[in-house]
Amino acid sequence: MSNFFYSQNLVGGYGGENILNDCSISVNKGEISVIVGPNGAGKSTAMKAMLGMLKLSQGKVFLDEKDISNLSPQDRVASGISFVPQTMNIFNELTVKENLEMGAYLRDDDLYQTFEEMYSLFPILYEKKEQVAGELSGGQRQQVAVGRALMTQPNVLMLDEPTAGVSPVVMDELFDKIIEIKKTGVAIIIVEQNAKQALNIADYGYVLVAGKNKFTGKGSELLNDSEVRKAFLGG
């Protein structure tokens, strides 16, 4: 496999029953991989496992040809993997600017350039930089969350349901931003409920059922696959 960031045959859970039963996800630089599937399929769990937030009984995670299966989440963040959780993904009592600064906590170099990039990617963040992040609208908060995660200049960006609870218009806008980020060469993994829209922008798609890869393929292939359509995309 020549993928940049990938997991192999993950098995594990939060202590009780296994949630992941042989699940493999991979992504390349400048590509988007999307994980879709029914509720409780272990989509978010698979992502968290790749960040090291889960005890695995089997399986390995590789980043840039290195086995990182034994690294703590903090160490994985330090080695260039950024994660945007689904909820509580901003510092809601800090200002927008402080949120971004905290994202770059591990960096000691000059942040000016990165701030400029962030503000040009998300112009609204520049406008609201002195405002407390908790006062922003849902879509703006998601932008803060993604912005915070990008401040480390990561190689891999993982997004857990970034469009949950935002309007369709904002969702399209967010997906556009994600495509822009991908073009800068970041490897992106997204867990999504809005399977159709997500597969539309995906280079690669993974349909997870009961913690197992059920269908795997290019985003467009999955969208046209009659079985996938019938089972997961509403016909």
Binding site: P73, M88, F91, G103, Y105
Partner: protein, 339 residues
């Protein structure tokens, strides 16, 4: 004389209410800041804070005695001010030791806040015992230097008014040092990377970890600041009044009342709460008879003391305020939990 009645009344109030309440409020504010920091970052109510203050003050007194035995004094200022930085450092170290030996274990167990609270009660008893063991339970005055900035007699002869105003140097010292300390603390929390990371950690712990903020470092810095704040608060209180371990334990109630009234976890709230509690205590226990004698015509002179509550009940005031706040606005004035 008639024309000066209002002025006399104001001076009377300044002398017995405003100046004392301002300095007591500053002491409470510093103490409440320590409680609020522990609550915001370590997420428990630290019942050992009063005795931590006593510990810090004890160290300062011991160092003061040492300096005095060397003949080292600060002239018009109290010698304890020279001892203060050393005492702050040692108390901060003591906090770190307490954390390493006791709290760290429960943090690793991911214990509930209520467990931490009970543990802090245990720590309180230990500190309590250490302080009494080393310096004893007696009342001690360790103030030296110039006692008054303005003496009542001088004020009277200078202004020619019958009402005198006296301002103790410890009162001014308290207010000035407290203001400087608070400004430095707020600057640290708002402007420095370390301070911001403390606020971030207190706001959203998981996300702080995901951002690479080192939790051990945040906890360490918090204890250092808490130890220093407790020492400053304790020494200022001890200079202004006197040092007695039991009094410091009793301060726990007004201190917690101050932190909760302002919104526990919120530093600005702790400061506001400190002054609110102090002014309430002093204003409600002051006998206003003389004040009204100046303001009212002779035939309306009050016959009683015009005192709302005896000073013996001053702790009841903190308690009542605490209860009222918890019923009406449990979050406090400033909504808190985050630095």
């Amino acid at each position: 004389m008639e024309n000066y009645d209002l002025l006399n009344a104001i001076i009377l109030l300044a002398n017995f209410v405003i100046v004392p309440a301002l300095s007591y409020g500053s002491q409470l504010a510093l103490a409440a800041l320590g409680i609020t920091l522990v609550y915001a970052v370590l997420r428990f109510s630290n019942f050992a804070h009063g005795d931590l203050m006593a510990f810090g003050t004890m160290i300062a007194i011991l160092i003061t005695w040492l300096f005095q035995s060397w003949g080292l004094t600060a002239g018009v200022l109290p010698t304890a001010l020279i001892a203060l930085p050393f005492a702050m450092a040692l108390t901060a170290g003591f906090c770190l030791l307490t954390d390493r030996v006791i709290y760290k274990f429960y943090r690793e167990q991911k214990s509930q806040p209520v467990v931490f609270m009970i543990v802090s009660v245990g720590v309180m008893f230990i500190m309590n015992a250490i302080v009494r063991f080393i310096i004893g339970p007696k009342d001690r005055t360790f103030f030296d230097g110039e006692k008054f900035i303005i003496k009542a007699v001088e004020f009277k002869s200078y202004t020619g008014l019958p009402e005198g105003l006296s301002i103790k140097s410890t009162q001014v010292l308290t207010i000035v040092i407290a203001l400087i300390t608070m400004m430095m603390l707020f600057y640290f929390l708002q402007k420095t990377k370390m301070g911001k990371s403390m606020r971030a950690y207190s706001n959203n712990e998981d996300l702080a970890l995901l951002s690479g903020i080192n939790p051990d470092r945040v906890v360490m810095i918090t204890w250092i600041i808490v130890g220093m704040l407790a020492t400053i608060a304790g020494v200022l209180y001890g200079l202004d009044k006197s040092f007695k371990p039991f009094t410091y334990f009793q301060l726990l109630l007004p201190m917690f009342a101050a932190a909760i009234v302002g919104g526990i976890g919120n530093p600005l709230g702790a400061v506001a709460g400190g002054y609110i509690i102090a002014f309430s205590e002093v204003m409600l226990t002051y006998a206003y008879k003389k004040f009204f004698m100046y303001l009212l015509p002779t035939n309306l002179e009050p016959s009683g003391l015009m005192q709302f509550l005896s000073t013996d009940y001053k702790f009841a005031i903190s308690f009542i305020i605490l209860v009222i706040v918890l019923i009406i606005r449990p979050t406090g004035i400033f909504r808190g939990k985050t630095l």
